[in-house]
Subunit: 190 residues, 2 copies
Amino acid sequence: MKLLEDRIINDGLILEGDILKVDNFLNHQMDVRLLEEMGKEFKSLFKEKKINKILTIESSGIGIAVMASRYFDYCPVVFAKKGKSSNVGGEVYSCLEKSYTRNVEYNVQVSKKYLSADDSVLIIDDFLANGEALNALINICKEAKAEVAGCGIVITKAYQMGEKRIMDMGIEVKSLARVVEMKNGEIKFG
Amino acid sequence: MKLLEDRIINDGLILEGDILKVDNFLNHQMDVRLLEEMGKEFKSLFKEKKINKILTIESSGIGIAVMASRYFDYCPVVFAKKGKSSNVGGEVYSCLEKSYTRNVEYNVQVSKKYLSADDSVLIIDDFLANGEALNALINICKEAKAEVAGCGIVITKAYQMGEKRIMDMGIEVKSLARVVEMKNGEIKFG
Protein backbone atom coordinates (compact mmCIF):
# COMPACT_ATOMS: atom_id res chain seq x y z
CA MET A 1 0.00 0.00 0.00
CA LYS A 2 1.86 2.97 -1.42
CA LEU A 3 0.11 5.52 0.85
CA LEU A 4 1.27 3.65 3.94
CA GLU A 5 4.82 3.02 2.71
CA ASP A 6 5.20 6.73 1.94
CA ARG A 7 3.86 7.61 5.36
CA ILE A 8 6.31 5.23 7.05
CA ILE A 9 9.19 6.77 5.11
CA ASN A 10 8.08 10.31 5.93
CA ASP A 11 6.88 9.95 9.52
CA GLY A 12 8.29 6.67 10.83
CA LEU A 13 11.40 6.59 12.99
CA ILE A 14 13.98 3.83 12.85
CA LEU A 15 15.54 3.39 16.26
CA GLU A 16 18.27 1.18 17.63
CA GLY A 17 17.27 -2.38 18.42
CA ASP A 18 15.36 -2.92 15.18
CA ILE A 19 12.54 -0.63 16.31
CA LEU A 20 10.26 1.07 13.81
CA LYS A 21 8.35 3.79 15.62
CA VAL A 22 5.09 4.80 13.95
CA ASP A 23 3.37 6.26 16.97
CA ASN A 24 2.56 9.54 15.28
CA PHE A 25 -0.01 7.97 12.96
CA LEU A 26 -0.66 4.36 14.00
CA ASN A 27 -0.23 3.27 17.60
CA HIS A 28 -0.38 6.27 19.90
CA GLN A 29 -1.67 9.11 17.78
CA MET A 30 -3.89 7.72 15.02
CA ASP A 31 -4.59 9.19 11.59
CA VAL A 32 -8.19 8.06 11.17
CA ARG A 33 -8.32 8.85 7.46
CA LEU A 34 -5.35 6.54 6.97
CA LEU A 35 -7.04 3.85 9.09
CA GLU A 36 -10.04 4.14 6.79
CA GLU A 37 -7.87 3.61 3.71
CA MET A 38 -6.32 0.59 5.42
CA GLY A 39 -9.78 -0.84 6.06
CA LYS A 40 -10.63 -0.47 2.36
CA GLU A 41 -7.37 -2.15 1.40
CA PHE A 42 -7.98 -5.10 3.72
CA LYS A 43 -11.38 -5.56 2.09
CA SER A 44 -9.78 -5.56 -1.34
CA LEU A 45 -7.14 -8.09 -0.21
CA PHE A 46 -9.69 -10.46 1.34
CA LYS A 47 -12.64 -9.84 -0.97
CA GLU A 48 -12.87 -13.54 -1.94
CA LYS A 49 -13.26 -14.62 1.69
CA LYS A 50 -16.44 -15.02 3.65
CA ILE A 51 -15.74 -13.12 6.85
CA ASN A 52 -18.26 -12.59 9.64
CA LYS A 53 -15.98 -11.50 12.47
CA ILE A 54 -12.78 -9.53 12.98
CA LEU A 55 -10.48 -10.51 15.83
CA THR A 56 -7.69 -8.27 17.08
CA ILE A 57 -5.72 -7.68 20.27
CA GLU A 58 -5.54 -4.68 22.55
CA SER A 59 -4.57 -1.95 22.19
CA SER A 60 -3.07 -0.92 18.85
CA GLY A 61 -5.15 -3.30 16.74
CA ILE A 62 -8.50 -1.92 17.87
CA GLY A 63 -8.70 1.28 15.82
CA ILE A 64 -7.62 -0.53 12.66
CA ALA A 65 -10.05 -3.40 13.20
CA VAL A 66 -13.01 -1.10 13.89
CA MET A 67 -12.31 0.88 10.73
CA ALA A 68 -11.92 -2.32 8.70
CA SER A 69 -15.25 -3.68 9.96
CA ARG A 70 -17.06 -0.93 8.02
CA TYR A 71 -15.85 -2.59 4.79
CA PHE A 72 -16.84 -6.08 5.93
CA ASP A 73 -20.55 -5.34 6.35
CA TYR A 74 -19.99 -3.93 9.83
CA CYS A 75 -19.18 -7.37 11.20
CA PRO A 76 -18.52 -7.51 14.97
CA VAL A 77 -14.98 -6.79 16.14
CA VAL A 78 -13.66 -8.75 19.12
CA PHE A 79 -10.50 -7.61 20.81
CA ALA A 80 -8.51 -10.10 22.84
CA LYS A 81 -7.37 -8.88 26.23
CA LYS A 82 -3.91 -9.22 27.64
CA GLY A 83 -4.01 -10.39 31.24
CA LYS A 84 -1.25 -11.14 33.67
CA SER A 85 -3.31 -13.59 35.66
CA SER A 86 -2.82 -17.27 35.04
CA ASN A 87 -5.98 -18.20 36.96
CA VAL A 88 -8.13 -17.97 33.90
CA GLY A 89 -11.70 -19.11 34.43
CA GLY A 90 -13.57 -21.56 32.25
CA GLU A 91 -15.44 -18.87 30.33
CA VAL A 92 -12.50 -17.69 28.23
CA TYR A 93 -10.24 -19.09 25.57
CA SER A 94 -6.67 -18.22 26.45
CA CYS A 95 -3.17 -18.62 25.15
CA LEU A 96 0.20 -17.56 26.53
CA GLU A 97 2.07 -14.94 24.51
CA LYS A 98 5.74 -14.17 25.04
CA SER A 99 6.55 -10.63 23.98
CA TYR A 100 10.18 -10.54 22.83
CA THR A 101 10.20 -6.76 22.53
CA ARG A 102 9.07 -6.21 26.10
CA ASN A 103 10.33 -9.43 27.64
CA VAL A 104 7.04 -10.21 29.35
CA GLU A 105 4.41 -12.90 29.15
CA TYR A 106 0.71 -12.28 28.73
CA ASN A 107 -2.35 -14.43 28.86
CA VAL A 108 -4.25 -13.52 25.71
CA GLN A 109 -7.94 -14.02 26.44
CA VAL A 110 -11.22 -14.04 24.52
CA SER A 111 -14.59 -14.76 26.10
CA LYS A 112 -16.11 -18.02 24.84
CA LYS A 113 -19.31 -16.10 24.19
CA TYR A 114 -17.74 -14.19 21.30
CA LEU A 115 -15.98 -16.84 19.24
CA SER A 116 -17.39 -20.15 18.02
CA ALA A 117 -17.38 -22.78 15.27
CA ASP A 118 -19.84 -20.60 13.34
CA ASP A 119 -17.23 -17.89 12.84
CA SER A 120 -15.03 -17.21 9.85
CA VAL A 121 -12.48 -14.82 11.26
CA LEU A 122 -10.20 -12.16 9.85
CA ILE A 123 -7.39 -11.51 12.33
CA ILE A 124 -6.06 -7.95 12.21
CA ASP A 125 -3.00 -6.52 13.94
CA ASP A 126 -0.68 -3.55 13.58
CA PHE A 127 2.68 -5.38 13.59
CA LEU A 128 3.96 -8.83 12.69
CA ALA A 129 7.53 -9.62 13.72
CA ASN A 130 8.08 -12.85 15.65
CA GLY A 131 4.43 -13.69 15.33
CA GLU A 132 3.79 -14.38 18.99
CA ALA A 133 0.61 -12.32 19.29
CA LEU A 134 -0.76 -13.62 15.99
CA ASN A 135 0.04 -17.17 16.99
CA ALA A 136 -1.89 -16.70 20.23
CA LEU A 137 -4.92 -15.36 18.34
CA ILE A 138 -4.78 -18.27 15.88
CA ASN A 139 -4.58 -20.77 18.75
CA ILE A 140 -7.60 -19.15 20.33
CA CYS A 141 -9.53 -19.50 17.05
CA LYS A 142 -8.52 -23.16 16.89
CA GLU A 143 -9.66 -23.70 20.45
CA ALA A 144 -13.01 -22.11 19.53
CA LYS A 145 -13.13 -24.22 16.33
CA ALA A 146 -13.54 -20.98 14.40
CA GLU A 147 -12.13 -20.78 10.88
CA VAL A 148 -9.23 -18.37 10.33
CA ALA A 149 -10.03 -16.80 6.94
CA GLY A 150 -6.75 -14.88 6.97
CA CYS A 151 -4.50 -12.43 8.76
CA GLY A 152 -4.37 -8.76 7.80
CA ILE A 153 -1.30 -6.98 9.09
CA VAL A 154 -0.45 -3.30 8.77
CA ILE A 155 3.36 -3.61 8.99
CA THR A 156 5.22 -6.90 8.67
CA LYS A 157 8.93 -7.23 9.33
CA ALA A 158 9.39 -9.90 6.68
CA TYR A 159 12.99 -10.57 7.71
CA GLN A 160 11.80 -11.89 11.06
CA MET A 161 10.31 -15.33 11.59
CA GLY A 162 6.65 -14.49 12.20
CA GLU A 163 5.34 -14.25 8.64
CA LYS A 164 6.86 -17.58 7.57
CA ARG A 165 5.75 -19.23 10.79
CA ILE A 166 2.10 -18.30 10.22
CA MET A 167 2.16 -19.05 6.47
CA ASP A 168 3.67 -22.47 7.23
CA MET A 169 0.44 -23.24 9.10
CA GLY A 170 -1.36 -22.77 5.78
CA ILE A 171 -2.84 -19.45 6.84
CA GLU A 172 -2.95 -16.52 4.44
CA VAL A 173 -1.08 -13.43 5.65
CA LYS A 174 -1.51 -10.14 3.79
CA SER A 175 0.45 -7.06 4.81
CA LEU A 176 -0.17 -3.45 3.88
CA ALA A 177 3.56 -2.71 4.22
CA ARG A 178 6.17 -5.45 4.13
CA VAL A 179 9.56 -4.37 5.43
CA VAL A 180 12.35 -6.50 3.95
CA GLU A 181 15.28 -4.51 5.28
CA MET A 182 15.83 -1.83 7.87
CA LYS A 183 19.30 -0.52 8.56
CA ASN A 184 21.32 2.66 8.84
CA GLY A 185 18.08 4.58 9.14
CA GLU A 186 16.85 3.30 5.78
CA ILE A 187 13.89 1.08 5.14
CA LYS A 188 13.15 -1.17 2.16
CA PHE A 189 9.79 -2.61 1.26
CA GLY A 190 9.14 -5.69 -0.84
CA MET B 1 -29.39 8.16 23.41
CA LYS B 2 -32.40 5.87 23.12
CA LEU B 3 -30.65 3.33 20.87
CA LEU B 4 -27.92 2.83 23.47
CA GLU B 5 -30.28 2.73 26.47
CA ASP B 6 -32.35 0.05 24.73
CA ARG B 7 -29.24 -1.91 23.93
CA ILE B 8 -28.06 -1.75 27.55
CA ILE B 9 -31.47 -2.97 28.72
CA ASN B 10 -31.53 -5.80 26.18
CA ASP B 11 -27.89 -6.92 26.16
CA GLY B 12 -26.28 -5.51 29.30
CA LEU B 13 -25.81 -7.61 32.40
CA ILE B 14 -26.07 -6.25 35.92
CA LEU B 15 -23.76 -8.18 38.20
CA GLU B 16 -23.05 -8.11 41.90
CA GLY B 17 -20.72 -5.36 43.07
CA ASP B 18 -22.41 -2.62 41.02
CA ILE B 19 -21.04 -4.03 37.76
CA LEU B 20 -22.72 -3.28 34.44
CA LYS B 21 -21.31 -5.69 31.86
CA VAL B 22 -21.64 -4.52 28.27
CA ASP B 23 -18.88 -6.61 26.77
CA ASN B 24 -21.07 -8.03 24.02
CA PHE B 25 -21.35 -4.71 22.19
CA LEU B 26 -18.96 -2.19 23.74
CA ASN B 27 -15.78 -3.31 25.43
CA HIS B 28 -14.82 -6.79 24.30
CA GLN B 29 -17.03 -7.50 21.30
CA MET B 30 -17.87 -4.23 19.56
CA ASP B 31 -20.93 -3.39 17.47
CA VAL B 32 -19.33 -1.05 14.97
CA ARG B 33 -22.64 0.27 13.62
CA LEU B 34 -23.53 1.31 17.17
CA LEU B 35 -20.10 2.93 17.60
CA GLU B 36 -20.82 4.91 14.44
CA GLU B 37 -24.13 6.15 15.84
CA MET B 38 -22.33 7.11 19.04
CA GLY B 39 -19.81 9.09 17.02
CA LYS B 40 -22.64 11.00 15.32
CA GLU B 41 -24.27 11.68 18.67
CA PHE B 42 -21.05 13.04 20.18
CA LYS B 43 -20.77 15.41 17.22
CA SER B 44 -24.31 16.59 17.79
CA LEU B 45 -23.64 17.10 21.54
CA PHE B 46 -20.43 19.06 20.96
CA LYS B 47 -21.27 20.78 17.68
CA GLU B 48 -20.70 24.26 19.16
CA LYS B 49 -17.15 23.40 20.19
CA LYS B 50 -14.00 23.84 18.18
CA ILE B 51 -12.29 20.47 18.50
CA ASN B 52 -9.07 19.49 16.76
CA LYS B 53 -8.08 16.40 18.72
CA ILE B 54 -9.73 13.49 20.50
CA LEU B 55 -8.02 12.01 23.54
CA THR B 56 -8.96 8.63 25.00
CA ILE B 57 -7.38 5.87 27.05
CA GLU B 58 -6.58 2.27 26.15
CA SER B 59 -8.26 -0.04 25.50
CA SER B 60 -12.03 0.33 25.46
CA GLY B 61 -12.05 4.00 24.50
CA ILE B 62 -10.16 3.51 21.25
CA GLY B 63 -12.89 2.09 19.00
CA ILE B 64 -15.36 4.75 20.13
CA ALA B 65 -12.85 7.58 19.69
CA VAL B 66 -11.79 6.45 16.21
CA MET B 67 -15.40 6.26 15.09
CA ALA B 68 -16.16 9.68 16.60
CA SER B 69 -13.20 11.26 14.79
CA ARG B 70 -14.99 10.72 11.46
CA TYR B 71 -17.62 13.24 12.59
CA PHE B 72 -15.03 15.75 13.81
CA ASP B 73 -13.33 16.24 10.42
CA TYR B 74 -11.16 13.16 10.96
CA CYS B 75 -9.18 14.90 13.68
CA PRO B 76 -6.30 12.86 15.13
CA VAL B 77 -7.09 10.47 17.97
CA VAL B 78 -4.51 10.05 20.72
CA PHE B 79 -4.89 7.18 23.14
CA ALA B 80 -3.18 7.42 26.52
CA LYS B 81 -1.28 4.35 27.59
CA LYS B 82 -1.48 2.69 30.97
CA GLY B 83 1.95 1.81 32.28
CA LYS B 84 3.03 0.25 35.50
CA SER B 85 6.42 1.89 35.50
CA SER B 86 6.95 4.94 37.62
CA ASN B 87 10.27 5.78 35.96
CA VAL B 88 8.60 7.88 33.35
CA GLY B 89 10.96 9.75 31.06
CA GLY B 90 10.81 13.42 30.24
CA GLU B 91 9.09 12.91 26.89
CA VAL B 92 5.68 12.05 28.27
CA TYR B 93 2.95 13.72 30.26
CA SER B 94 1.85 11.35 32.98
CA CYS B 95 -0.63 11.12 35.82
CA LEU B 96 -1.31 8.40 38.37
CA GLU B 97 -4.71 6.72 38.15
CA LYS B 98 -6.13 4.57 40.93
CA SER B 99 -8.57 2.04 39.57
CA TYR B 100 -11.14 1.30 42.28
CA THR B 101 -12.72 -1.55 40.31
CA ARG B 102 -9.44 -3.41 39.90
CA ASN B 103 -7.60 -2.08 42.93
CA VAL B 104 -4.47 -1.21 40.96
CA GLU B 105 -2.56 1.94 40.09
CA TYR B 106 -1.52 2.93 36.59
CA ASN B 107 0.65 5.62 35.18
CA VAL B 108 -1.45 7.18 32.44
CA GLN B 109 0.92 8.49 29.80
CA VAL B 110 0.76 10.62 26.66
CA SER B 111 3.77 11.54 24.56
CA LYS B 112 4.53 15.26 24.67
CA LYS B 113 4.70 15.20 20.88
CA TYR B 114 0.96 14.63 20.58
CA LEU B 115 -0.59 17.16 22.93
CA SER B 116 0.14 20.87 23.17
CA ALA B 117 -1.22 24.34 23.91
CA ASP B 118 -2.53 24.45 20.32
CA ASP B 119 -5.02 21.66 21.01
CA SER B 120 -8.70 21.90 21.83
CA VAL B 121 -9.45 18.41 23.05
CA LEU B 122 -12.55 16.25 23.28
CA ILE B 123 -11.92 13.50 25.84
CA ILE B 124 -13.84 10.30 25.11
CA ASP B 125 -14.21 7.22 27.30
CA ASP B 126 -16.56 4.27 27.64
CA PHE B 127 -17.38 4.55 31.37
CA LEU B 128 -17.48 7.28 34.00
CA ALA B 129 -17.90 6.13 37.60
CA ASN B 130 -15.40 7.51 40.12
CA GLY B 131 -13.78 9.60 37.43
CA GLU B 132 -10.21 8.50 38.07
CA ALA B 133 -9.32 7.82 34.43
CA LEU B 134 -11.02 10.98 33.23
CA ASN B 135 -9.30 13.01 35.93
CA ALA B 136 -5.93 11.65 34.79
CA LEU B 137 -6.66 12.61 31.18
CA ILE B 138 -7.76 16.11 32.23
CA ASN B 139 -4.59 16.56 34.30
CA ILE B 140 -2.52 15.51 31.31
CA CYS B 141 -4.30 18.13 29.16
CA LYS B 142 -3.60 20.74 31.83
CA GLU B 143 0.05 19.75 31.95
CA ALA B 144 0.18 20.13 28.15
CA LYS B 145 -1.69 23.47 28.42
CA ALA B 146 -4.24 22.03 26.00
CA GLU B 147 -7.86 23.17 26.29
CA VAL B 148 -10.42 20.57 27.37
CA ALA B 149 -13.43 21.32 25.15
CA GLY B 150 -15.47 18.66 26.90
CA CYS B 151 -15.82 15.03 27.92
CA GLY B 152 -17.95 12.60 25.94
CA ILE B 153 -18.84 9.46 27.88
CA VAL B 154 -20.73 6.44 26.65
CA ILE B 155 -22.11 5.26 30.01
CA THR B 156 -22.03 7.37 33.18
CA LYS B 157 -22.97 6.00 36.56
CA ALA B 158 -24.45 9.27 37.72
CA TYR B 159 -24.92 8.03 41.29
CA GLN B 160 -21.15 7.80 41.72
CA MET B 161 -18.87 10.76 42.34
CA GLY B 162 -17.08 11.05 38.99
CA GLU B 163 -19.57 13.13 37.00
CA LYS B 164 -19.96 15.77 39.72
CA ARG B 165 -16.21 15.81 40.35
CA ILE B 166 -15.44 16.63 36.71
CA MET B 167 -18.32 19.11 36.31
CA ASP B 168 -17.15 20.91 39.47
CA MET B 169 -13.94 21.67 37.60
CA GLY B 170 -16.08 23.62 35.12
CA ILE B 171 -15.71 20.97 32.44
CA GLU B 172 -18.67 19.95 30.33
CA VAL B 173 -19.55 16.24 30.58
CA LYS B 174 -22.05 14.72 28.14
CA SER B 175 -23.12 11.10 28.43
CA LEU B 176 -24.89 8.94 25.87
CA ALA B 177 -26.47 6.90 28.68
CA ARG B 178 -26.75 8.21 32.22
CA VAL B 179 -27.49 5.53 34.78
CA VAL B 180 -29.20 6.98 37.86
CA GLU B 181 -30.04 3.73 39.58
CA MET B 182 -29.06 0.10 39.24
CA LYS B 183 -30.46 -2.46 41.62
CA ASN B 184 -32.18 -5.86 41.73
CA GLY B 185 -31.21 -6.40 38.12
CA GLU B 186 -33.00 -3.23 37.01
CA ILE B 187 -31.49 -0.14 35.55
CA LYS B 188 -32.89 3.40 35.43
CA PHE B 189 -31.67 6.18 33.15
CA GLY B 190 -32.08 9.88 33.69
